[in-house]
């Protein structure tokens, strides 16, 4: 149990569309980790996608409509908005501003953006969560999403949480800085290049000699585990929230 020094009472949770559809357990784990710090979690069930797929694909107006909807859904209170994805958080924290920079809604959007936090950095730096590892010794590696690293800058927070788990050995991956090739619609618009990238990423993960990799972004996870499945590589991928919850519950 942490100490929640800032005495945060309530947060909003933005689950992300991919977690909603494919990784709900990871999403629930994030909620439970927040609750464990004595924080009440509100999960507005009207929420949708952050808008990034359209934003990155040339359909800015559609992205903007979706973004504006999210801004409204989370406008009831000024609670922090916690997101179990560096990429979606980056979209909402930085790119909403870019999209609305010439609009009268800018200031309202900006207030929303300022409240956005990536889950692991919120747990580590705001709530100062403390974890006791109850699991058996395990070796694993970490994959950082590009936006977790370069937009939200939360990679070190994720690793700091993992380092609290005394039976977990974190083996750093070579070329950690490099994209796994997901890139949202990039993976289907440039499938050959994306395939080459994910192939190399899987090779780098294999080279760590671990049987498990963790990540804070389910887009990367779906990409990497999808390729591992196809190539029959026996390495498991898991969202960091789900993993931490398992470890501390024993």
């Amino acid at each position: 149990m942490g100490n929640n020094p800032a005495n945060v009472k309530t947060v909003y949770y933005f689950g992300t569309c991919l977690v909603d559809m494919a990784y709900p357990k990871a999403g629930m784990a994030g909620i439970k980790l927040l609750q464990r710090e004595g924080v009440e979690v509100i999960f507005p069930r009207e929420q949708g996608c952050c808008g990034q797929p359209a934003y990155n694909s040339g359909f800015r107006q559609e992205a903007k409509d979706v973004a504006w909807k999210q801004v409204q859904i989370f406008s009831g209170n000024d609670y922090p908005i916690v997101v179990p994805s560096g990429s979606c958080a980056g979209m909402m924290k930085f790119h909403y501003l870019e999209m609305f920079k010439d609009d009268p809604e800018y200031y309202e959007v900006k207030k929303f953006c300022d409240r956005v936090h990536e889950l692991t950095s919120f747990l580590n730096t705001v709530l100062k969560a403390q974890y006791t590892d109850k699991g058996s010794p395990v070796k694993l590696t970490w994959h950082s999403s590009c936006h977790a690293r370069r937009e939200m800058g939360c990679t070190e927070d994720s690793k700091a949480l993992l380092r609290q788990l005394k039976n977990v050995e974190l083996v750093e991956i070579e070329r950690e800085h490099e994209c796994c090739g997901f890139g949202g619609t990039f993976s289907i618009k440039q499938p050959e290049i994306s395939a080459a990238m994910v192939h190399d990423k899987v090779e780098d993960i294999k080279s760590t000699g671990t049987k498990k990799f963790l990540t804070g972004d389910c887009g990367c996870m779906m990409n990497i585990t999808g390729h591992m499945g196809k190539e029959k590589v026996a390495i498991e991928g898991q969202h960091i929230a789900e993993f931490i919850l398992e470890r501390i519950n024993g």
Partner: protein, 476 residues
């Protein structure tokens, strides 16, 4: 241009990815260049400061571009440099040819110039019966092999030593196969020194042109740039009009950024500052110096303050070295003078989205380029902008060829997607659909592309929204 019409990006990507040697060569080189950069730009705080300075100098320069160029022209003329203006690459080629013919010149020795690549100058001059000779070692190698550069700083980076040995043996009369780099270097040195001594014209690019003093600055390691600008009787310098800076004091930070980002050096072997032709009493240097200033679409790019940032580029090539796409497909696959991230944003603006609009699709928007760009060009955002203009759904595009991708099907897909994300009922129906049918979708279209190297996504039986409701998580 005919060559553009035939350009098939998909095919060149497939071919490049299938070439294992090519991929190995690029991986080796870009890994090394990234490491070298980090060794010089090792202090993150100082690097950020330098990048902010570089960004401010180039941005300010662009806002004052007409004034700076007028000043540059006046000062160069005062110094005895003959200044030419070219709106298009065709005009620039004719200017160079005109200068050569005026001097009955046949042989031109060339220092490295990306603008000359943009002009396809070698092909143009060869067609006119002239002899353009590349002298930068990398350029020399690929000219022997009749190829364009695959990288804007290290043009022969796609070839390894064995391949270069073969190129020398196949193309230089009297040379037998050797993998000894010292021998290869000696062969090139021998050939090229003879050419410098006997060339009619020397040609170069320009890294920075200083407006206040009419000085052309050239950055290089080999000395071929100095040879080309010093030994032949006539020197022709080619520059894109964005290369002008206001004053000498702007140069040291830009020079450091260029060296550090391009090759991981604190300083290059030579920094060559040229202020005009040979003056009375001087014993060497060209008797005539020409400066050809090329527009080729650049002045149009200025109009939009977001797109304008493309012109901040100092051509260091570090975005290529850091791009996970470039490092896998290499420079030639882009079928363009400028490859990699900078090419993805520059080429469509110069040649039109209808011709080069596919280039911005070759990015996962990982932001690696933006993180290292010495003048802080927001490349990912510019890629997004060009993707927007490719569809031009709002009919407000300004880039040439905008809207080339507009199509009903893709638009309908995104409009439908939007509905499921802004309307709670539609969202519920969509989630239900995914839960029931998601795992048995036919593998066609996007899912086919996805599953070519991956298993299909596995959709959950219950969405997070279902779980949250069940667990009694507060819903607002």
């Amino acid at each position: 241009m005919a060559s553009n019409a035939k350009f098939n990006f998909k095919k060149s990507i497939t071919d490049a990815l299938a070439d294992k040697q090519l991929r190995a060569n690029f991986k080796f080189a870009t890994d090394a260049l990234r490491g070298k950069r980090l060794a010089v730009l090792s202090d993150p705080e100082e690097t950020l400061h330098l990048r902010k300075v570089g960004n401010a100098i180039k941005r300010k320069g662009l806002t004052q571009l007409p004034q700076l160029l007028e000043k540059l022209e006046a000062k160069c003329q005062e110094n005895g440099i003959i200044v030419h203006w070219a709106e298009t690459t065709a005009e620039a080629n004719e200017i160079v040819l005109g200068i050569m013919e005026k001097h009955s010149g046949h042989k031109v020795v060339k220092g490295k110039s990306m603008v000359s690549e943009e002009m396809h100058l070698n092909k143009f001059l060869e067609d006119k019966g002239k002899l353009p000779l590349e002298t930068d070692l990398g350029e020399y190698i690929i000219q022997l092999n009749h190829e364009p550069p695959s990288h804007i700083i290290v043009p022969a980076v796609h070839k390894n030593r064995k391949q270069i040995a073969q190129i020398f043996a196949d193309n230089i009369p009297g040379v037998s196969y050797t993998e000894d780099t010292t021998e290869l270097l000696a062969i090139a040195r021998g050939k090229l020194r003879e050419h410098y001594r006997t060339a009619d014209i020397g040609l170069s690019g320009v890294n920075f042109a200083i407006a206040e003093s009419g000085t052309l600055c050239l950055v290089e390691n080999e000395g071929n740039g100095r040879m080309c600008t010093t030994v032949p009787p006539v020197h022709v310098a080619l520059m894109g009009l964005e290369k002008v800076v206001e004053k000498l004091e702007d140069v040291p930070p830009l020079y450091r950024l260029l060296c550090g980002s391009a090759t991981g050096q604190r300083i290059t072997t030579y920094f060559n500052m040229i202020k005009g032709p040979r003056k009375a009493g001087e014993k060497d240097g060209p008797k005539e110096v020409h400066l050809v200033i090329l527009d080729n679409g650049r002045s149009k790019i200025l109009a939009d303050t977001q797109l304008r940032q493309t012109l901040q580029c100092i051509r260091c090539g570090t975005c290529l070295n850091h791009c996970p796409v470039y490092t896998r497909i290499g420079g030639h696959a882009y079928g363009s003078t400028y490859p990699g991230p900078i090419g993805e944003i520059l080429m469509p603006q110069v040649e039109g989205l209808d011709k080069k609009g596919m280039l911005p699709t070759a990015s996962s928007l990982c932001n690696a380029c933006e993180e290292v760009c010495p003048v802080m060009i927001p490349i990912p955002n510019l890629i997004r902008r060009l993707r927007d203009e490719s569809y031009d759904m709002d009919d407000d595009g300004i880039v040439k060829g905008h809207g080339y991708k507009k199509n009903r099907l893709e638009t309908m897909v995104w409009k439908g997607w939007k509905l499921t994300q802004v309307n709670a009922t539609c969202n519920k129906l969509m989630l239900l659909g995914v839960q029931i049918f998601g795992n048995m979708l036919p593998k066609v279209g996007p899912l086919k592309a996805w599953t070519s190297v991956r298993t299909a996504p596995k959709f959950a039986r219950q969405s997070l929204k279902d779980l949250a409701k069940k667990e009694g998580i507060r819903n607002e």
